[in-house]
């Protein structure tokens, strides 16, 4: 894994480290939550969220990073090791107890041994809790995805060809004489490329091209930011192959999603939510799982988007489920817990929460922290132990949202000193480029917020 050399003072176990997923023996230390009342936020250049994706991908492909792998002093706490072994123990049971898994996962999933990908799959109900059913379930999902690609990713020429080969025999070709008028034939169901009919496959195809173009642009941009932030020229051979492969996979996932959900289609920003999912599954040390990363990401992406789809829909902006009301809820939460800060932010400095919270909430905090941190946050979001076990859609949405809002509140509370001292510009700047902090501490505070509001 390629990593920048860090100065000595940063080498304490307080800061999160980058995962090295392919080595099972090495544990990367998870920072121990130290209950400091107000931790010093690190003033850094704003953390670029994505570079880790390509770094990790490269490491999987190139496998040259063994010597480059740098660790902060390997101080595995007994807690980390025990948590890892607890998780492994839980996962290897025949019928997995989801509640127990949740409890363990909400403390953070260790980055080694590919546990995260399996745990996420269980938490999002991609895999059933009974281990015996896994093989059957995976096979079913595989065929379903293949069905999607076959049906939705073909262009109309191929569709018409399939339509007519099913209705007439190929032997017509040989009957054609060498010389003579070419036979004209009826077009099936009035389908021709210039058709303007609503149900015409050609017409739909041309309408879809717009969405596909936008998806292309966004995916390209996503990958280019990763690559360019590493300072590698995208035309180097291996990188360009990687670039192309990643682009194709992400593109397919988003296109299939857009076609399956004509209501929400594709909205800019979904690519950011897709990135961590794809990363986690692609870096699964289990070969087979890594190969089917695209398929798994797609299904899980659909699940995750269900929670946040209302935020992406513009018409729902002002409704009860829309983004505005969620932001208001967050604001209320902040008011309950820290009225002084709330008043300072919203009334005195007039920092409208929409300016910063919009991105936090719609993109599930992927843009605010570096990659490893956002994975950690997602662990907590997905595994809220007090959430419903067998969830109906809206219940789950409610619980995930609640956790998310608590984390957002915690983010605000952690930098309250700086916020209280700042004016509109400096506060806005700070909130839009949130300084990196100790994630475990952040989650700890978020958890405490829950306890207080219940009490």
């Amino acid at each position: 894994m390629v990593k920048k050399r860090v100065p000595e003072w940063m080498n304490s176990s307080l800061w999160t480290s980058n995962p090295s997923p392919e080595t099972e023996e090495r544990y990367t230390p998870i920072p121990i939550p130290i209950p400091i009342p107000k931790p010093e936020p690190i003033i850094q250049t704003p953390p670029i969220p994505e570079p880790q994706i390509v770094k990790q991908q490269e490491s999987i492909q190139e496998e040259e990073e063994e010597e480059d792998d740098e660790h902060h002093g390997p101080s595995f706490s007994p807690e980390d090791i025990s948590r890892q072994s607890q998780l492994l123990a839980e996962l290897s049971r025949k019928v997995i107890n989801l509640l127990e898994l949740r409890r363990l996962a909400s403390q953070g999933i260790p980055d080694g041994a590919g546990i995260r990908s399996t745990v996420w799959k269980l938490l999002l109900s991609y895999l059933p809790t009974d281990r015996g059913h896994w093989v059957a379930e995976l096979a079913r999902k595989r065929s379903q995805y293949k069905h999607f690609t076959d049906e939705l990713l073909v262009n109309p020429s191929e569709i018409t060809r399939k339509l007519e080969t099913s209705t007439r025999l190929e032997t017509d070709e040989s009957k054609l004489e060498d010389k003579g008028l070419l036979p004209r034939s009826e077009i099936p169901q009035g389908e021709h490329p210039l058709s303007l009919g609503k149900t015409s496959i050609w017409n739909q195809f041309f309408q879809d091209t717009e969405i596909i173009e936008q998806i292309d642009r966004d995916v390209k941009r996503l990958i280019l930011t990763c690559i360019s932030s590493l300072g590698i020229h995208p035309l180097q051979n291996l990188i360009s192959w990687l670039f192309f492969y990643l682009q194709e996979a992400l593109r397919r996932i988003l296109i299939i999603f857009a076609k399956l959900n004509p209501g929400i289609r594709y909205v800019q920003g979904m690519n950011e939510v897709l990135a961590p999912l794809f990363y986690v599954f692609r870096n699964d040390p289990d070969e087979e799982n890594a190969a089917s990363a695209e398929r798994q990401t797609h299904f899980l992406f659909c699940r995750v988007v269900k929670w946040i789809r209302d935020h992406f829909c513009q018409q729902l902006d002002n409704s009860v489920v829309g983004i505005r009301s969620t932001i208001t809820k967050m604001s209320q939460l902040l008011k309950e817990h820290d009225e002084e800060l709330w008043r300072h932010l919203e009334v005195t400095t007039k920092v409208n929460p929409q300016f910063y919270a919009f991105r936090w909430i719609t993109l599930l905090l992927t843009q605010e922290f570096n990659f490893a941190d956002s994975l950690h946050i997602w662990d907590t979001l997905l595994s809220d132990p007090e959430g419903p076990q067998v969830g109906t859609g809206s219940l789950i949405i409610g619980y995930v949202q609640e956790t998310l809002l608590r984390v957002c509140c915690a983010m605000l509370v952690l930098i309250r000193r700086r916020l209280l001292a700042g004016d509109f510009t400096s506060n806005l700047k700070l909130l839009q480029h949130y300084p990196s902090t100790n994630i475990s501490h952040l989650l700890y505070v978020a958890d405490k917020l829950r306890a207080r509001s219940v009490g």
Partner: protein, 190 residues
């Protein structure tokens, strides 16, 4: 999946005022990748209109075209197919298949698109295929007054071409299609 529009013999403004409105409503920019035009547009405005449908336009000179700079013949490659373009008034007798076949061998193309007769035709011979898209406006020709407006849209997909024929018969657009594959043993002249 490349869409190629083939049309010609519009004779605007001398013999016809404009394309039939039903055709015009179907021809929107953004769907077609290439336009090949047999000639006799005749004025620059029509050229500009076609260019607005698709920036990649190929045109050969018809005898009434006002722009003298168009070439007499043109060849281009789209996908696996070589297309040849010529107006057709140069080939005598007009519309005669053997003479057109000679031209096709001369240009060494798989599909030859010519016009001038204002009649749609799609013909196959050993050398390849000859397509005549007819007149897109239904303008009268030197041979006959009874002309149905027609044009052709080709869907080129690897080794297979689907030719969609659009004709305006009695005020209604009728679409037919013709399928053919390029055989592996190429039959073009050496």
């Amino acid at each position: 999946m490349v869409l190629v529009l083939a049309l010609g013999d519009l004779h605007i403004p001398h013999r016809a005022a404009d394309l039939p409105p039903k055709f015009k409503s179907m021809l929107v920019p953004g769907k077609i990748q290439h336009i090949i035009c047999t000639g006799n547009l005749c004025i620059k405005e029509v050229h500009d209109y076609l260019k607005s449908l698709c920036p990649d336009m190929h045109i050969t000179r018809g005898e009434y075209d006002e722009d003298a700079r168009y070439p007499e013949t043109k060849t281009l490659t789209i996908g696996q197919f070589k297309l040849g373009l010529c107006h057709g008034h140069q080939v005598v007798p007009w519309g005669d298949l053997d003479s057109l076949a000679m031209l096709q061998r001369q240009l060494d193309v798989d599909i030859l698109v010519t016009g001038h007769t204002h009649q749609f035709k799609a013909y196959k011979h050993e050398g390849g295929v000859v397509i005549n898209p007819g007149s897109a406006t239904g303008a009268y020709s030197s041979i006959t007054y009874d002309v149905n407006p027609s044009f052709v849209l080709m869907d080129i997909d690897a080794l297979r071409v689907v030719v969609y024929v659009y004709e305006l018969i009695d005020g209604e657009v009728k679409v037919d299609k013709i399928d053919f594959k390029k055989t592996a043993t190429s039959q073009s002249a050496h």
